[in-house]
Subunit: 409 residues, 2 copies
């Protein structure tokens, strides 16, 4: 058996101990800081002495799927192809959902580790990620959301509900993420995978600010599981897909720029198409509102494109407008899956399409969301000392497996 | 008596009712939002129906003095001259403290209102602002910090301690700000000033995140006073000098770029001088660390300046580096009071000079600070409906007096 593998031009040592990579969805660093301050996360606090706490940049758009795929491929979206939940196919003139593995352009480290004889397990909160994360993976892969449908043939395991001892949680709940940890702990104890990937959902972070009792309770739950995974001898490597920020004014009203309405009023209907790649079947908690949008133009005219870019850049709440070429280079995105323009919202502002396309009835608390550059800073936390970080390397969340496998002291 | 006055090229109607402008130091909008969510700020919440809640941009550097002076002059620092607590005088080669009124280059609306026969009162938390805010003001002007030294001759009032019924609070306390409101309420009831300016201190915001019990208690205190001022029939206009952000990693360690150390290592000692205009005699709660610095170069050489700018811009945590000309234009700063370069830290990063110049022993909780562009969004809140805001005008915190006097429905 080989001692290392190469995936997407990067080389990884095989795990020397069971290694668990945790992607905490929407984990703005301040959630951990505030939970520690409130005395709710003693294990995470203790990593200051015997572990390693770093900060990295996630992929922009700071959305769930692009970043989960970056983490498991060790590569940016320009390599793996997943740059949101949707792209617009100009040939067929349709918006295409990218949740299926056929849109994935690169192998995952998970699948390649399994191919190299390692036992690999993946547990996600929502089922939408399972197909992508489990692509060509010979191992265990299932979601908490559909934990009652798990079969040995399809998911590499069965009877998980009974083993975890929890009912299938609501897709909009803190328990959905708790189930991921409970299942991970059970797998660690019984199957003892060499490499395990646990991915939670940001339902709590979309609803509750750092330091609130609800957020602290959620991090206390995670802290307790992390301690138990640590106590089993696992190497823990925690990061996030993206951060999270309030997107409201002082009394909690959302700051929304409806780009399609603005563009239609300025240039006429059907001259531009605003696509929000955050859109997915689970939008109750954010109303498909994030701080990233991409715009397709009907006329492929350079002057028109410059016009539209300048118009958008002048709107209050818009942080930046990039051309396809600029965005592809700066954010390492696949240029065939973004529009002619990429628009980024400021920290407190989200970008919508047309007002009548957004159902905001699910926003029962002030909007918190992500997608922009202001949600790019995420934690990189390990329960071991790492070597070779002199502070000059720009760390990314998708370096987490490299750090966990190649840089342990 | 005239019905309007013109100050710094803007015209203001005289107050039609007692008008109170409140500058809540460090009031990131999320503090109000979270206090409302926790049920601690019912009066501020009620302004959604009968008042006006807007968002504005403060002045960069997002520091206390530049913004307080902008608010009371209705003008940016390029007009009033105060762009921090310090500037470097290249002729005398000394760092000059700008807390004295002799550095103020423009009249205040407060002084001009008094000259027009209006009764004007100013209460600040810290005494450092009193000289600037009270410049040429015939009226009441004192600080909570030195409330026990108030004399009718110098401060336009006496016996304020007995009237307020509170002891002189510690300069590092929530009570220092509470004293400002208590004094303001007493003045409103007895002297009934036509225009009153109340300015708090951000001790609480430097220590506690939005939504924490300490922050909520502070906003509950303010909410209660605002209700009482409202009940007395006053027009209330609330804004902030700047926002506030965590400047730490996931476990609360500060993210600091020590610019002087970096520059000395790269270019040699005494070739550059880093000046931090946040530095003041009260640094215990932030260690003189903010997200804004200005750099003076010994050699006035353009190539060297470009070199240094590029070197600084490449440092992790630096958001932007501007030349003196760029910074003066973009942020409306007095070019003779900033260095050749202006450096801005990212949202989670502060800029230091040399590590051994900062006393961080006072940082007993994770650093929260301000100074950069990420602290530029502040609330503009009124207990009246306003007219003439169609959402296209870029509002500034220093529009608050214009809005309160000229735009009431």
């Amino acid at each position: 058996m080989t001692q290392q593998i190469t995936v997407n031009s990067r080389t990884y040592q095989l795990p020397s101990a069971p290694t668990i990579v945790v992607c905490v969805d929407g984990c703005e660093q301040e959630y951990i800081n505030q939970a520690i301050l409130a005395g709710k996360a003693p294990f995470l606090a203790s990593l200051r002495s015997f572990g390693t706490v770093l900060t990295g940049d996630c992929v922009v758009p700071s959305f769930t799927n692009p970043n989960n795929l970056s983490i498991v491929t060790g590569a940016p979206p320009s390599v793996h192809g997943i740059c949101g939940n949707f792209f617009f196919d100009e040939e067929t003139q349709t918006e295409v959902l990218m949740n299926d593995a056929k849109y994935l352009r690169a192998p995952t480290i998970l699948a390649e580790m399994a191919r190299a004889g390692q036992r690999v397990a993946v547990v996600t909160a929502k089922d939408k990620l399972r197909s992508l994360l489990g692509h060509r993976l010979e191992g265990i892969c299932f979601s908490a959301e559909k934990a009652d449908e798990v079969t040995r043939q399809e998911h590499g395991i069965d009877n998980i509900l009974a083993r975890v001892g929890m009912p299938v949680p609501s897709v909009y709940s803190a328990e959905l993420s708790e189930f991921v940890f409970a299942a991970g702990l059970s797998l660690l104890r019984e199957e003892r995978p060499d490499l395990m990937y646990l991915s939670t959902t940001d339902y709590v972070q979309h609803k509750h600010a750092p330091g609130t009792s609800e957020a602290n309770a959620f991090y206390a739950m995670m802290d307790d599981y992390l301690l138990r995974l640590h106590a089993e001898g696992a190497v823990l490597a925690l990061t996030a897909d993206h951060g999270m920020n309030a997107k409201t004014d002082a009394i909690g009203r959302p700051n929304i720029v409806f780009l399609q309405d603005r563009l239609d009023a300025q240039y006429g209907a059907r001259t531009t198409r605003v696509l929000l790649p955050i859109t997915d079947p689970y939008v109750v908690h954010h109303g498909a509102l994030g701080s990233y949008a991409t715009v397709y133009l009907r006329d492929h005219d350079e002057q028109k494109q410059r016009d539209v870019a300048a118009f958008l850049a002048a709107i209050n709440g818009v942080e930046a407008v990039l051309t396809r070429a600029q965005a592809s280079e700066r954010f390492e995105l696949p240029s065939d899956r973004i529009g002619e323009l990429v628009v980024l919202g400021e920290r407190l502002t989200v970008l919508g399409s047309a007002a009548d396309k957004h159902d905001l009835s699910g926003l029962t608390v002030p909007l918190r969301s992500h997608g922009g550059m202001s949600e790019q800073k995420v934690p990189l936390i390990f329960n071991r000392k790492l070597s070779g970080n002199d502070g000059t390397r720009r760390l990314r969340n998708f370096d987490v497996i490299d750090l966990a496998l190649n840089h342990l002291v």
